[in-house]
Structures are given as C-alpha cells and as structure tokens.
C-alpha cells in the first residue's frame, strides 16, 4: 500500500497551515478579488462606492491602440528573450555536462547572473549599451546614431532582451544541467557502445530526455518575460522611446500608480493574470502528459 504514514492530530494540522493560509489570503486572494472587482467597476470622480460597468473597462482597453502596442511589444520581448536565454543555456549546459577540464569553474560562474537584481542588471546593461558611454556606442564613430536606444525603438528592445536573457540564462542553465545529470550514465554509455558520437548522443538521447525540463523552462521563461520584467524596463528604458518597450506589466504600473486609473490597471491585470494562468495550465495538462516518458 502506498499510503503515507501520518499523524492524527488534526487541530495541530490546522494550526500549522493557518499562518500561510492567512498570508496567502491577505496578500494574494483578497487583492486578486479586489482587482477583479475594480476591473468590472469604475471609481466615481468624487468618491463613493464604485459603479458596476460590466465589461466596459475591458472593452476600453481592447480598443486602445496603446494597449495593443504593449501586447505586441510584450510578445516580441517574450519571443526573443526566451529563445535566446533557453537556447544559450541549453548549449552551455550541454558543454558543461561533458565534464571537460575545469568544468566546475564554468558551472560556478555561469550561475552568478541569477543572483543579481533586475535593476542592477538593467543599469549595467544601460551603461554598456548607452548611446554616449559604455562600449557599444563605439560603433557610432562609423556613423552617428547607429546605436541609440534612447531614440531607436528597436535598439531599446534589443537592450532589454539582452539584459533579461543574460539573467535568465543562468537560471535556465542550472535546470538544464540538473536535467542532464539526471540522465543515467548507463544510457549514455549504451549509446556510445552502439556507436553514437558525442553530437549524435546529444541529439538522440540527451535532448529528448530533456524535453520535460525544456517545456517547464519554456513556460517559466515566458511567464517571467510577461510578468517579472518590470525592474529591467523601469531602469533602462522606462517603457520608451515612444512606448517601444512599453511591456504590459509596465503599463499596468504606469496606469495604476502614475495615472491612478485603478480600474484600467485592474482590467489589464486580469488580462495578464488570465494569460499566465492559461500558459501554466497548458504546461500542466497538455504538454507534460505527452512529454513524460514514464
């Protein structure tokens, strides 16, 4: 029988879980339900209780060009940042997994970017890629304003993609490495006896067995680009120039805290929440079932 051995003191069980449940209620479920409430109402200009407006707020944001701009920007950001950070992390994990001389040092250092705060990363990259300082702007001597993230939307996007990828690469690297090391050595050795070379093994054995890790990281990374990227954007580009890097999450902050339009911010939050829940759902239900080879 696979039943767990348990204790029977149920009052104790309740007491043990109460603190976390309380915190989760106060700081998660209540605010989330408030957000839902605000999304479906508007605040009257001179105070008083909110008026129910149904989907009006949503209609408003869905017909707002600025909103759709932020959606497009977020998608572009998600795509490029995720591809870059996952691709590179996978490569480096495969390299380090071969355990060539000195691999421990590589493993050690590849991980550091994870520990660095998003705004710190942002500031560092803002410096390196600054239009008038740092390094990259050296190419401006060839032709002025060849590189200028303060004016060129694409340059700004490149900047935040690079900054975000740099940080996420470290995180993905560790998971990929753990996934690779979980593959029993016996499988690799069997493949080698079957005549498979290093590259072939990577393609035929390691990558397929990494598929669960890959999809897990895919979802985590995409979610992160939609939701966690506030720090980098705020400090490097502020959403500009001309909203070229106005990510959805940044817009929520601008509308909510700077613009004080809580209803709009709430409606946008709901949409973002829905997106994230949807992504996680897909990973749990659909993808994981098909990818796990047990």
């Amino acid at each position: 029988m696979d039943q767990r051995a348990t204790f029977s003191n149920l009052w104790l069980a309740g007491a043990l879980i109460a603190p976390q449940l309380l915190l989760v209620f106060l700081f998660f479920y209540w605010p989330a339900s408030q957000a839902v409430y605000w999304a479906f109402t508007t605040q009257p200009p001179f105070g008083g209780t909110n008026d129910w407006v149904g989907f009006q707020n949503f209609q408003q944001i869905f017909t707002d060009r600025v909103y759709w701009n932020s959606v497009v920007v977020s998608i572009i950001f998600a795509f490029f940042s995720t591809s870059l950070s996952i691709g590179m992390a996978l490569l480096f994990a495969l390299f380090v997994d071969r355990q060539l001389k000195g691999y421990k040092a590589y493993r050690f250092i590849y991980f550091w970017p994870y520990a660095i705060a998003a705004p710190a990363v942002g500031l560092a990259f803002r410096f390196i890629f600054a239009p008038d300082a740092g390094f990259v702007s050296a190419i401006n001597t060839i032709s002025p304003n060849l590189w200028n993230p303060a004016f060129n939307g694409t340059d700004a996007m490149i900047l935040i993609v690079l900054a975000n990828s740099w940080k996420m690469m470290a995180y993905n690297f560790i998971f990929f490495l753990a996934g690779l090391q979980a593959i029993p050595r016996a499988l690799i050795e069997a493949a080698a006896m079957d005549g498979s070379s290093v590259l072939r093994r990577a393609r035929d054995i390691q990558l397929p067995l990494l598929a669960p890790t890959l999809f897990f990281l895919l979802v985590i990374n995409i979610t992160e680009t939609f939701v966690d990227s506030f720090g980098i954007v705020d400090i490097t580009t502020g959403g500009g120039p001309a909203r070229a890097t106005d990510l959805m999450v940044y817009k929520i902050y601008s509308d909510g805290f700077k613009g004080l339009d809580y209803s709009m911010a709430a409606a946008q939050s709901i949409v973002l929440m829905g997106l994230v829940i949807g992504l996680t759902f897909i990973q749990f239900r659909y993808v994981e079932k098909r990818i796990h080879y047990k």
Binding site: V24, F111, P119, L123, I174, A182
Partner: protein, 297 residues
Amino acid sequence: MIERTPILNAVTHGLMLIGLVLAALPIYIVFVASTHDLHAVNQVPMSLYPGTHMVENYSKVWEKSQFGDKMLNSLIVAVGVTVGKVLIAAISAYSIVFFRYRMRMVFFWLIFVTLMLPLEVRIVPTYAVASNLLDPFQTILGWTGLGLKLPEVNLLNTYTGLILPLVATATGTFLYRQFFLTIPNELVEAAKMDGAGPLRFFWEILLPLSRTNMAALATIMFVYAWNQYLWPLLITTDQSKATATMMLQKIVPGPLFGQPPIWNEAMAATLLVMVPPLLVVIFMQGYFVRGLIATDK
C-alpha cells in the same frame, strides 16, 4: 568513458570560455566603471583596466544616499523574509504531507496557485491591503452586518510591510513538500513506535534531515528578497526605510529624461547592490544545486 574527440573538445572549451566572458564581463565592467573618475568612465569604449578612484566613488555614493542605512534595511528585509519563509513554509508543508484531512489538497492547491501570479500583477490591490492590513476582514464583517470596528493597521513604510507580502509566496512550501514526500514511511513509523508525537517528530527528526533543503530555500529567498525592486519602491515613501536595490532608481535620472547618469557613481551603487546576494550564492552553491535537483520536475 574513453572517447577521443580533440577537435570537439577544443571547440567546446573555446565556446565555454566565451560563455564565461559573457557571464562575467558585465560584472567586471560594473566593477571597473566604479573605479574611474567621471571623465574616464565616459570614454567610449571605456578602459577595461581598473582606475584609481574606487575609494572616492564609493564614499561619495555611501554618503550622498546614506547607502549604509539602505544596505542595512535591505539586510533586515532579506533576513526577515528568509527566516519567515523557511519556517512558515516548513510547517505548512508538514501539515500537508504528514496529516490526513479532507481539505488537505484544497489547501495545497490554494497555496500552489499563488506561484502563478507574482506581485507585479496584483500590485495595486496588494498595496491597498498593506495600507490597511485588516481592511479585508473589515469588509467581510461589513457583509455580515456586524458593527464591529477593527483597528487600522498601516504597514506602509514599515519593515513588516516590506517583509510580509514577500513571505506569502508558495515557492518554499512546494520545495519542502517535494522533499518531505521522499522521507520513507518507515522512519515516521519507527518514531511513532518510539513514542514520538507529531511536534517532536517535526523538530527532532524531520527538520534535521531537511538541512540541505533549508539551505537551498534560504539562498533563494535571500536573493529574492534582497533583489526586490517594485514592492519597496511603492511601499516606502519615507527614505529611512528605503532598500538598497530600490535606490538604484533614485540614483539615476529616469531613462526618459535624456540626461545621462553619473556613471561611475551609478556603477559603484550597482556593485554595492550586487555584492551581498552574489556572496550568498557563491557560499551556498554546493547546497543549491543539490536542492534544485531534488525539486526539478
């Protein structure tokens, strides 16, 4: 395994070195930039040899923004979140794994779901709760018609306000749960036969065995809490409670204003913010990889 692939090895080494540079270079650049004077730092490209103005730059940043106090605040918050999280997540996971009651899985999912929605998405209403902690209960009481008036608990500009919402996340609970599930049933039964009750078992047997896990969680939480940016920005208007990481925003002019930052000082501040979590990670790296492997899906 004996395998002769000299060319592939050389290429791999080369690529790994490039990777090393990619990973370490930005950090190095930040360091070097913080040692130059204003003129040198604005050279394009900046010289990669460290300058001589390190002490000068750091003292300026330290004094100008009272960075010492800010670092202390960050430390208090990070330690508070770490300790709070390590403990609360442990007892929650304990309740879920080692007791059997009908609501058990419901509670687990309730907690787990919070992983999907980080702070940034519910930032405004969470702020509202922080400004009056008991407001949700007040509202609920209002629905029931009871005339009870709860006191107002304002957490803005307090350490509690900085710490509590960060402790509410589910990461730790999930990690502990995965680990607790690997404890053999027989160990629990032997303890029961020896007469140990649930609290004794938790304190004398389960926690000592969870040391690696706790170290991993502590590392993750410390880094997470120290690196918090948006939440401290919102909740502290009083500069005395500001944290180091959020100061980065105050130190540089906004990116939309067109005015460049004072780069050498900005980089000095950046390095100050970077160093503590980096040190923690470096020290804990052995434990950390093991902890993640245990929780990997």
